[in-house]
Symmetry: C2
Subunit: 377 residues, 2 copies
């Protein structure tokens, strides 16, 4: 009977009209009915990714799509740049190294954003670089990288630009073609408002040329297999039918509400959430905060305790810190199917928990700061 | 408003009480609640696979789990035996070759089963073979291989025995440990009565030792990552939460009904279906028919037409032939959540369609033959 509030950066809440689609009798995938749904979602995904290129739907988590980018673009001993500013940026390094790729890493401290100038310098110093990999929204720290500026730099070289936009897409402005991003990967459980289980990937013309000469071994993640079936609005391997039917529904919702409205909502929510955190005298961790999740530093390493008590006493789910941030921060998500009222409730409960843990705060202050920001709407 | 009858060998119908679980509000995966569900399903999967070893749940199609077996067991230039008798057996060859593995293939004509004696001979002639790969139920032809006999042979060598049990498991008797199968892969959309999107894999002690020295590149499919998280009842990458919750429900149903009852049901249904096909003078294609799907040869290459008209006029979904069997056969599935009444309806509609297509049959005869077999119950 616990009524849960999910304020986590993935999975995010699934709208009930979408969730109910998953409960419908399953349909067979090798049918016109499925192909018609697949065609619609593929068109819709182009809008969401803001690209003219095909967007492929995969059966895996976001990490699988990241691996797909690497194994389809590269060959053994290729050199790449990875610009990492957190846990998920580091994942690019780990995947690439698993495949014997030479990684020049351009890492910054957690909380900072990657530096376009440093990437430019690195590309000049290493003329053999085949690709630059980075992260749009780094969920582990809550920053957003300047993809547009990096895109301009990489476009002037022979390298392709690959972005993990697993978090962020739908939530805040992201323009694949305009920003000259060659490969974008994403997944279903964040801005898409779906359960996890689907991932997405798209390739530019420049990237497709690299795919043609890529020699890394692959089978399940071989984009050429997907390309062949995509022409028939099908996937090479049995797809997660119910999740794809549900995706058809969220694509409809996204188109109806329009991407711009999602972007504006998240911008407002993130501003209000930052004000709320500051009202509680919690320092913001991200130097350049993204608009889908807010990371706040908590005193005395009580991050895990806050998360636990919020869950136990209020069924409010927020995220704690990952890796070296464990205990040090809390992360409040405000993307997808998360409303103003959800966030106000979340702050009210957070105040109770902080107070219970002996943090010197004034109850109601974060809620008031959040309200203040909303009323300026 | 079309009321669909799904008599396809994957996806198979999902029981409504399971489907409804997918519509419940999504829960977060890094929680005690999820860990408790994951623990229960992992225990339940041991029962389904009839093994003492851990069974891992993956976010991919069955093919992903097949690739996982290959990349975790082998190293570049390793030699393996693939015993193939159809489309899915051939897939082992394709995946292995994508990774530079040397394949000694022991193939038989479609419709035949792989020969344990031939495997024994091949292993003697090729002492460096690291692993033997085959298929339990070859869905493309409808045969079942003698896994028990092959298991005995491979167990006497240093090679490990890897079986694709994507089709068949739950539907007909399969005993991982007793039959000395070292690695088993399966997926959610067949006997498990779930939508596609989950796959499963298990490793014996002998296989685990091979995993330790495997050098093929991998990341998303690296079993060591799953092993580490499995200890905490978690997965290394965000799992398809709703499908796992639904799996919890089918595991309950399977335990309540008992594997034996599923096996007996499918045995009876397959016998009755074969009688039904024979009553229509359709030749059975499989030399050793499995108990989850029946493949029948149709006259004049009208297989695709039959499938199409059954869908269009009766919303009854059966499968046609794959690859070289396209047009030549039809495939009726009788596993999972498919009932006697479903099959009787399917046969009645099939009779109508055959008649419409000018095949000389006596209406009611297949239904009568099916009924006859049931009444002997």
């Amino acid at each position: 009977m616990l009524k849960q509030y999910l304020l986590t950066p993935g999975p995010t809440p699934v709208p009930p009209q979408v969730a109910l689609k998953e409960a419908l009798p399953i349909i067979h995938h090798r049918t016109d009915e499925f192909a018609s749904i697949y065609k619609d979602i593929s068109e819709g995904l182009k809008y969401v990714f803001q690209t003219k290129n095909k967007v492929y739907t995969l059966a895996c988590s976001g990490t699988g799509a990241m691996e797909m980018a690497i194994v389809n673009l590269l060959s053994p001993n290729d050199e790449i740049v990875v610009a990492s500013c957190g846990n998920f940026g580091d994942r690019w390094i780990e995947i690439a190294q698993s495949y014997g790729i030479k990684v020049v890493s351009v890492c910054v401290e957690w909380g900072e954003v990657v530096s376009p100038l440093q990437i430019e310098k690195t590309l000049k110093e290493n003329p053999n670089i085949k690709a630059v990999f980075t992260t749009f929204v780094e969920t582990s720290t809550g920053v957003v990288n300047d993809i547009k500026s990096i895109g301009k730099i990489v476009a002037n070289t022979n390298a392709v630009f690959v972005v993990d936009a697993i978090s962020g897409i739908v939530g805040q402005e992201f323009k694949t073609d305009l920003w000259k991003v060659d490969v974008v990967v994403s997944a279903s459980q964040k801005g898409f408002m779906l359960p996890p289980g689907l991932a997405f990937i798209t390739f530019s013309q420049k990237a497709k040329e690299m795919v043609e000469v890529s020699k890394l071994p692959k089978f399940y993640f071989d984009i050429k297999k997907y390309k062949k079936f995509h022409l028939k609005n099908q996937t090479p391997f049995t797809p997660p039918v119910t999740l794809i039917v549900a995706l058809g529904e969220t694509i409809k919702l996204i188109k109806a509400k329009k991407l711009n409205t999602f972007w504006n909502d998240c911008k407002l929510f993130s501003k209000a959430t930052r004000k709320g955190m500051q009202a509680l005298e919690l320092k913001l961790f991200a130097k350049v905060p993204c608009e889908v999740v807010t990371t706040a530093v908590v005193p005395k390493n009580i991050g895990e305790k806050i998360v636990k008590i919020l869950r136990k006493k209020y069924s409010v789910f927020i995220a704690g810190g990952q890796g070296k941030l464990k205990g040090r921060v809390i992360r409040f998500a405000h993307m997808g199917y998360i409303s103003k009222a959800d966030l106000l409730a979340g702050f009210a409960c957070l105040e109770m928990v902080l107070s219970e843990l002996g943090v010197n705060i004034e109850k109601g202050k974060a809620v008031a700061a959040f309200q203040e920001e909303l009323s300026g709407e």
